[in-house]
């Protein structure tokens, strides 16, 4: 069995930032396990610009953003195994993995960072009736075909779901000469970033149909068309609004699911709303020594935030490796209420020595709403925001002193919406 201080599962932006932070904080033996052939994760196929505005203060493409971190990793003694799939995390922080070089790997790690990212919701989960024709795929799969393999997966496109990958692909396919007929969004608002709606749809002249969905696919071999319909406030199709749209491709951009198979197998507690692990402010999960960050923890809209979150996890893991803490921690629990769907982290050590950023998402589009952080009726934070949307992650900072002073070990993040 091999021994490492830290094993990072996943070599995308999250895994690399976490490993680099841990290295900077003095962790000696670090190993990154990456299932793809290269480091970089999904950024490698995101050749559009828009990355790094927050973190680097400049606009980079996905590969450029990734390569800044790949170069840093290469300059350290962090070990990397690519083309390596982790199969299981066994009790006692033992990582079982397989690849073509080592065969089977059995690695003992003092600490583990989970950074496996997320996947797209597939067609099956949507329950769209119709045929099994080819030409129905997720936007990310299409992105790989176009940007990595260099093939067009279709000519006449309908996109269901206005998630960011769908919006990006609307523009990408248009630039490659395909006709993108429309983007249909079930909700009355888009789940994508405002800047993507403007740059990828409005600038390209692609209609965004809100409160509209695909109710049937047509075609026996290759997709020939879809039937779309408007939906009511309960997201049910409104009879009489059906419309046939001819197309050979249906791209799905209907949500991302954190890839927590390993996490579940390891018996780690999962938050039913984020579908990621429940963590504390250091991003430590319910299993001591196992940390999580990036899209496997919660789906982010900006990689810049992934990097920041992963640095927290890397620092947390480094501190854990250094101190080997024993005994139970006492936590302040954090909850989202009225309009706040979830908050990460879900727990804060009551004696935390630093201020804590609470990341959250809202349930609907709100204008001029107040964000409140309260505990036992006492308001710790109160700020008005002109606009809040489910597609944009928000955060508030709670001071360490305020956390120490709490009477009741509970924090609530909620919205006050003006009628």
């Amino acid at each position: 069995m091999q021994k490492y201080d830290l094993v990072v599962i996943g070599g995308g932006p999250a895994g690399m930032a976490a490993a680099l932070q841990a290295k900077e904080d003095g962790v000696k033996k670090i190993l990154i396990l990456e299932r793809a052939a290269t480091l970089g994760g999904i950024l490698e196929q995101c050749i559009h610009a828009g990355f790094g505005l927050h973190y680097f203060g400049e606009e980079l493409t996905g590969p450029e953003y990734a390569h800044r971190f790949i170069e840093q990793v290469e300059q350290t003694d962090i070990e990397v195994k690519v083309d390596t799939m982790v199969l299981e995390i066994r009790t006692g922080n033992i990582v079982i993995a397989t690849n073509a070089v080592d065969g089977m790997l059995e690695i003992h790690a003092t600490a583990i960072i989970l950074a496996m990212g997320c996947r797209e919701r597939p067609r099956g989960a949507l329950d769209i009736p119709g045929s099994r024709a080819s030409g129905i795929m997720t936007a990310g799969t299409a992105q790989k075909y176009v940007n990595i393999d260099g093939y067009m997966p279709g000519k006449k496109i309908v996109i269901l779901g206005s998630g960011d990958i769908g919006l990006i692909m609307a523009r990408r396919m248009t630039l490659e000469g395909a006709k993108v007929e429309m983007v249909c969004e079930l909700m009355p608002f888009s789940g994508g970033l405002q800047r993507n709606i403007v740059q990828c749809l409005e600038d390209m002249g692609i209609p965004l149909k809100l409160s509209c969905t695909v109710i049937q696919t047509h075609g026996i071999e290759r997709l020939e068309g879809v039937t779309i319909a408007n939906v009511d406030e309960n997201r049910r199709p409104i009879p009489g609004t059906e419309q046939y749209v001819e197309c050979d491709t249906l791209l799905l951009s209907v949500g991302l699911i954190p890839e927590n198979e390993l996490t579940r197998m390891a018996g780690i507690i999962i938050d039913p709303v984020t579908n990621g692990a429940v963590v504390d402010e250091n991003r430590q999960t319910s299993r001591p020594g196992i940390f999580a960050c990036g899209n496997v923890l919660q789906v982010h809209d900006l990689v810049d935030y992934v990097t920041q979150e992963s640095q927290i996890a890397g620092a947390g893991a480094a501190a854990y490796i250094k101190n080997k803490p024993k005994g139970r921690n006492r936590y302040v629990s954090v909850k989202g209420q009225s309009g706040v769907r979830y908050v990460v982290p879900q727990n804060i050590n009551e004696n935390t020595d630093k201020d804590v950023k609470l990341y959250f998402r809202v349930a609907d589009v709100y204008r001029n709403a107040r964000i409140l952080v309260e505990s036992d009726g006492k308001v710790l934070y109160n700020k008005k925001k002109p606009k809040l949307a489910p597609g944009e992650m928000e955060y508030v900072v709670v001071k360490a002193d305020d956390i120490h002073a709490l009477q009741k070990k509970e924090l609530v993040v909620r919205l006050e919406v003006q009628k």
Partner: protein, 481 residues
């Protein structure tokens, strides 16, 4: 090319029968319309091995069902096909239902179904903890089970090929001429000559029979829609669960699959004769499945659905609606194997033997081969191996260490095996059925493009020539700018 026997249709019956024919000293060809075997009813059904209490005593269905159920374990073992003898329960909800269970028991007894029992509510609950509180008892049939129908078809085909059978895919038969004791079959890939023809064309069996002037039956495509749930739901169901049959038919069943998912369905909608390609799922159909399943396991959640699909049963329009397995009255060298709906999958091994006996009567000149291989090489299944076995395998061939399908843990080595197998995969769905790559919860989101790449490499094609399931089901168009 001239053959002794041409089998039309590579479903489970066609494959099983071809395998039987390959025991004889003759030339047999299996003609299939699609790019792969198991493309019709055999890939989209309930995947159940029925115990045999449904069919009317004395019918061919009853006889071949019970025989088939008892043969299934042997075949699946020899051919390395996933099969589990988990038993079935017909669930009763009231006094009337309990009487129906008695009738089913009697019928099963008459059909020769062994070891059935009518069990109490308590025992039922112990066997199925999530069953509806309304359930009052059940008919327990321990000989029932579950099987992977497409893998059974693929395995039989491979075995037949190893024994000298020829398989011609993309060879749909569109015309048959009979002259000088020889059938001339016009297919999409040229004319095939054969002395005998066995018609296993499933929902199209009537159209094939008509080509030799046999119009004695028609096949009604009866659509059934299904949901397949994630492996997370595995704990919810332990046995094949049927509703007590009512005037509405057998209703929806819920069952584990051999791969650890949960399958629920089917509906039963008769389509027009000209709708034999209609495999669309419908809102109405899927809603029926969703609603109906609640009466059996109220807490089963379709939210964890990974896919839905529809299949067509070949329902025959004759009065008794029994299997039609006999030489045609229009031509004694042409054997119909028609109307093979439920329990056709279960009966398939027995149907093949039954057809072999008919063939022996009409063509006694053919002798058994001296050597017949009864098995096929066991496919490598990396995720069923111990750590040590895996290590040894990867040391021999690195491709077994490269995971392509993350959800199901399928390696490049297994995918290459599936392509290189006798009658191997030629398209993405073919790889999926043989290896399970793309069968998991992301439904090929990540591995789909890699499978296309591997297929292209192994078949020596451009990536944009690779299809989802042959013909026009193309995946990629031109190169990007």
């Amino acid at each position: 090319m001239q053959y002794d026997v041409a089998v039309i249709g590579a479903g489970v019956c066609g494959a099983m029968i071809t395998r039987e024919m390959s025991k004889l000293d003759l030339k047999v060809v299996l003609l299939e319309k699609y790019n792969d075997v198991a493309m019709g009813t055999s890939k989209a059904n309930s995947a159940i091995v029925h115990a045999g209490f449904d069919a009317t005593p004395g019918s061919l269905k009853a006889q071949l069902n019970v025989q088939g159920a008892s043969l299934m374990a042997y075949y699946c073992n020899k051919l390395h096909v996933p099969y589990k003898n988990i038993g079935s329960l017909v669930v009763a909800y009231n006094w009337d239902d309990m009487k129906t269970l008695d009738e089913l028991f009697e019928r099963g007894f008459a059909n020769g179904v062994p070891n059935m029992e009518i069990i109490s509510q308590e025992r039922l609950r112990a066997m199925e903890p999530y069953i509806s509180e309304e359930a009052v008892g059940a008919l327990w049939a321990p000989t029932a089970g579950i099987v992977s129908p497409y893998e059974l078809t693929i395995a039989c085909t491979e075995n037949a090929v190893l024994n000298g059978a020829r398989v011609k895919r993309n060879s749909g038969v569109f015309d048959i001429e009979f002259k000088d004791d020889l059938f001339f079959l016009s297919t999409a890939s040229g004319v095939v000559k054969a002395k005998y023809v066995i018609n296993c064309a499933g929902v199209f069996a009537d159209q094939i029979a008509k080509m030799i002037g046999d119009t004695s039956f028609r096949i009604i495509p009866r659509k059934g829609e299904y949901y397949l749930l994630d492996k997370t739901e595995k704990k919810m169901v332990n046995h094949v669960l049927f509703h007590c049959p009512s005037k509405m038919g057998k209703g929806i069943l819920v069952t584990p699959t051999v791969h650890g998912n949960v399958l629920m369905g089917p509906t039963a909608i008769d389509l027009d004769f000209d709708s034999k390609l209609d495999l669309d799922t419908t809102i109405e159909g899927l809603n029926i499945v969703k609603e109906d399943v609640k009466t059996v396991i109220p807490t089963l959640s379709t939210r964890n659905c990974i896919t839905s699909f529809a299949g067509l049963r070949a329902h025959i329009d004759t009065q008794e609606a029994d299997f039609l397995i006999a030489p045609s009255k229009a031509n004694g060298h042409f054997i119909n194997v028609a109307g093979i709906e439920s329990p056709g999958l279960t009966a398939a091994p027995a149907i093949a033997r039954y057809v072999a006996n008919i063939f022996k009567e009409i063509a006694p000149q053919y002798q058994r081969k001296e050597v017949f291989r009864t098995d096929r090489p066991a496919p490598v299944r990396v995720n069923e191996m111990s750590d040590e076995e895996r290590k040894a395998l990867v040391a021999k061939d690195k491709r077994y260490g490269r995971i392509i399908c993350r959800c199901e843990g399928i390696t490049e080595g297994e995918i290459v095996d599936a392509i290189k197998a006798p009658c191997g995969a030629r398209d993405v769905d073919g790889v999926k059925r043989r290896t399970r790559a793309g069968m998991g919860r992301c439904q090929g989101g990540f591995c789909g493009s890699k499978v296309v790449e591997i297929l292209a490499r192994e078949l020596g094609e451009e990536m944009n020539k690779i299809t989802k399931f042959g013909n026009g089901s193309k995946i990629l168009y031109n190169r990007t700018k």
